[in-house]
């Protein structure tokens, strides 16, 4: 065992010496490996950085723990079931808060476009949403002026509303409108607060900001009991999305008395699905990159095999001598295999260096969305692993050729 380790050790040094003695040849030979490894590492690193960046974006916009739940008629029952039958309601909202521990917070929501009036100004088709007080936490939007909605506002069906800054602009309200009244669908509402404006942009584009009003959920239902309703919830842990969905499904199915074969009469959606979308996109890119990498590694491997065959034939006498002094065929095989692997791994390191340089480019480019592209450890491992694998796969044939050489013929070789 000790002898094998020592032999391997010395063989590695011998191989490094070989490569060093033929630097230019080695670099040209390993070019395919260098390109392959550089592309593997940089593509994976960029995709990882892109996903992290996107998760950050989602977090800053809605929070990656966000989940939506709404009633839905299964396709098969479109004829016998109405939308009103499956609509989610506040009873279910309370049930979920009570029985689904993976739901941290939840608010029912409903939405309608109504006409808004203030003095002589009118805004048509403004979005008016009914929410619980917990909405402030679920969507993490606080007020910059006035007070947030409270549970009592909801329970007493008060005519109070929160507005955003765009509404102040469009309705030409006071700079501090708290305490003023405006008309929603002809009813008088007291403005109790102004909401902070969320930074828009990023992947959701944002677009033109619109007038938004938030009123207590029960007040909204009183004005229009038939408006579409859904829950917006925060999961305890975004990583546990599957478990959370299972819990919600169980609670709702139990409550709705659905038995084994019945289809769900509700739907849910999590922000994580946006990540799924990105993953699909990343998969396409990875697929394309894999083809490129596979081709360059294959071509690189052919180059390695070629140079190793040259190496075997130009060192035939040396092989003959090694055999004459007692090198057994497997030992000679290993020596040339190690040399091919060392050549490939050195190519891998050069490729790694190139990939590192590539990941520095975003810093140099102004306005590029990604600032830091850290080298992915997995990518480095894959790249190096593949380069070593190429060395083994394409080095085995020349190594076998060397191991099979007859010592007498090898020593006579010119």
């Amino acid at each position: 065992m000790g002898a094998v380790v020592r032999l391997l050790w010395q063989t590695v040094f011998l191989a490094i010496g070989q490569v060093w003695a033929n630097k230019v040849r080695a670099v040209l030979t390993a070019l395919g490996i260098i390109i392959g490894v550089a592309s593997v590492i940089s593509v994976i690193s960029f995709l990882n950085a892109g996903r992290d960046w996107m998760l950050d974006q989602i977090d800053s916009q809605v929070g990656s723990r966000t989940m939506w739940i709404w009633g839905d008629v299964p396709d098969a029952q479109r004829g016998v079931m109405s939308w009103a039958d499956v609509r989610v309601n506040t009873t279910e909202a309370r049930l979920l808060l009570e029985r689904a521990p993976s739901i941290e917070d939840l608010t029912p929501m409903c939405n309608r476009s109504w006409e808004i009036g203030y003095g002589k100004e009118t805004v048509r088709g403004a979005s008016v949403r009914g929410v619980w007080a917990s909405w402030h936490d679920v969507e993490s939007r606080q007020v910059v002026l006035g007070r947030p909605l409270s549970r009592i506002d909801n329970e007493e069906r008060r005519h109070v509303c929160l507005i955003n800054e765009v509404a102040i602009e469009e309705l030409k309200l006071d700079v501090d409108p708290v305490g003023d009244y405006l008309l929603i669908n002809g009813r008088r509402f007291l403005i109790i607060g102004v909401l902070e404006t969320k930074e828009s942009g990023g992947i959701f584009g944002g677009g033109q900001p619109r007038t938004e009003l938030y009123i207590p959920f029960n007040t909204h239902k009183m004005m229009d009991p038939y408006s579409g309703t859904w829950f917006q919830a925060n999961m305890v842990d975004a990583e546990q999305a599957d478990e959370t969905q299972a819990e919600v499904r169980f609670v709702l199915r139990t409550h709705r008395g659905l038995s084994g074969d019945d289809e769900d009469t509700f739907e849910m959606e999590i922000v994580a699905s946006a990540i799924d979308f990105f993953n699909n996109f990343a998969m396409v890119i990875t697929g394309g990159a894999t083809v490129v990498v596979a081709i360059s590694l294959f071509v690189g491997g052919i180059g390695i095999m070629n140079i190793m065959l040259v190496s075997v034939s130009e060192r035939t006498r040396e092989i003959g001598l090694r055999k004459a002094v007692g090198a057994q065929p497997p030992v000679v095989l290993m020596q040339f295999l190690v040399e091919a692997v060392v050549l490939c791994v050195i190519g891998g390191f050069v490729g790694l260096a190139f990939a590192f340089v590539l990941t520095l480019i975003p810093k140099a480019v102004p306005d590029f969305p990604l600032d830091e592209v850290p080298l992915s450890a997995v990518a480095v491992a894959i790249g190096m692993g593949f380069s070593a694998l190429v060395g083994v796969v394409f080095g085995i044939l020349p190594a076998i050729k060397a191991a099979r050489l007859n010592p007498i013929d090898a020593l006579r070789h010119e």
Binding site: G17, L321, K323, A324, V325, G326, L411
Partner: protein, 304 residues
């Protein structure tokens, strides 16, 4: 450095050895029934013209090749029954091989070259460097350990090769035309080194076609057409005695020496006129056979 002590007195035992090649439809009998016994601590020269089978015999003795039929027992080990890997081990542990063209690794220092056989050995795992130094010291190259072959003279290179052959303490030292690439002065040095090793108990088998090199051996085995035609102590070998006589008479005369060569070849190979071209140093003025040799000290004897 003493050779490994052998259980029996007989180091090499060859019986009925044949080596037959097929080249196309033709069958070449390179060795045709050779019997040979070499005892421990013998110094044997194998001689013969080109095509006599001496190289084939040497390759088989060195376990680089295997006989078609016949037995070859080396130091009690029946090598004719062995496969490639076991033969490689025998080469490593029992045989020190010296080549005409040295076969040193050009990129490696003398020390590394001498350490090469131990790289493939299970013994001497931790003593490789020490042993290599000792072997180089033995051949008088203690001060050339860090030199590469291209920084050494031909004689020094061959001595590195000898150190490499000795480093694993082989039971036999096989030299295939060890002085073929060397000038006269270096040849004398190398031969003296062989004699010294022999005095210390090393079994040596040397292939040569130079009578004066063979003259240092105890015994001369002559081959022709794959058969042993003569096997006698050096003093009793008729061809060698004749050669010594002619050398003594025709000392210094280029013509006579050349004539003697022709006759010798004719004697050795009666049916094949046209002898090999000999090395030039035969024509040089030199002392009578075996009288004196230069000490093996290391001086610059000119690059090859």
């Amino acid at each position: 450095m003493n050779p490994a002590s052998t259980p029996s007195d007989v180091t090499i035992d060859i019986r009925g050895m044949r080596k037959i090649y097929r080249v196309g439809d033709e069958t070449v009998r390179a060795l045709d029934g050779v019997d040979l016994t070499i005892r421990n601590n013998e110094f044997v020269a194998i001689m013969g013209a080109s095509g006599s089978g001496k190289s084939t015999l040497m390759n088989i003795l060195g376990c680089l090749d295997q006989p078609t039929t016949g037995r070859y027992v080396l130091n009690g080990k029946p090598t004719h029954k062995m496969g490639m890997s076991r033969l490689a081990r025998v080469r490593n542990e029992e045989i020190g091989f010296i080549f005409q063209s040295f076969e040193l690794l050009s990129r490696a220092s003398s020390l590394k070259n001498v350490m090469l056989p131990m790289l493939y050995s299970r013994r001497h795992l931790f003593s490789a460097r020490r042993r290599a130094k000792r072997a180089l010291d033995l051949v008088g190259l203690a001060d050339r350990m860090g030199h590469r072959p291209n920084q050494l003279s031909g004689g020094q290179r061959q001595r590195v090769a000898i150190a490499r052959a000795l480093v694993n303490e082989p039971s036999i030292l096989l030299a295939d035309e060890p002085t073929g690439n060397l000038d006269s002065k270096t040849t004398v040095e190398i031969i003296e080194l062989f004699r010294r090793l022999h005095r210390q108990g090393q079994t040596i088998v040397i292939v040569t076609h130079e009578e004066d090199v063979a003259g240092h051996a105890e015994r001369i085995v002559r081959l022709r057409d794959g058969k042993v035609i003569s096997d006698a102590a050096t003093d009793e070998d008729p061809i060698h005695r004749d050669w010594v006589r002619r050398m003594a008479e025709g000392r210094g005369s280029m013509v006579e020496v050349t004539d003697a060569e022709h006759e010798l070849n004719a004697m050795a190979d009666a049916n094949k006129p046209g002898p090999e071209v000999r090395r030039g140093w035969f024509g040089k003025k030199r002392p009578a056979e075996g009288s004196t040799v230069l000490p093996g000290g290391d001086d610059e004897s000119g690059a090859v």
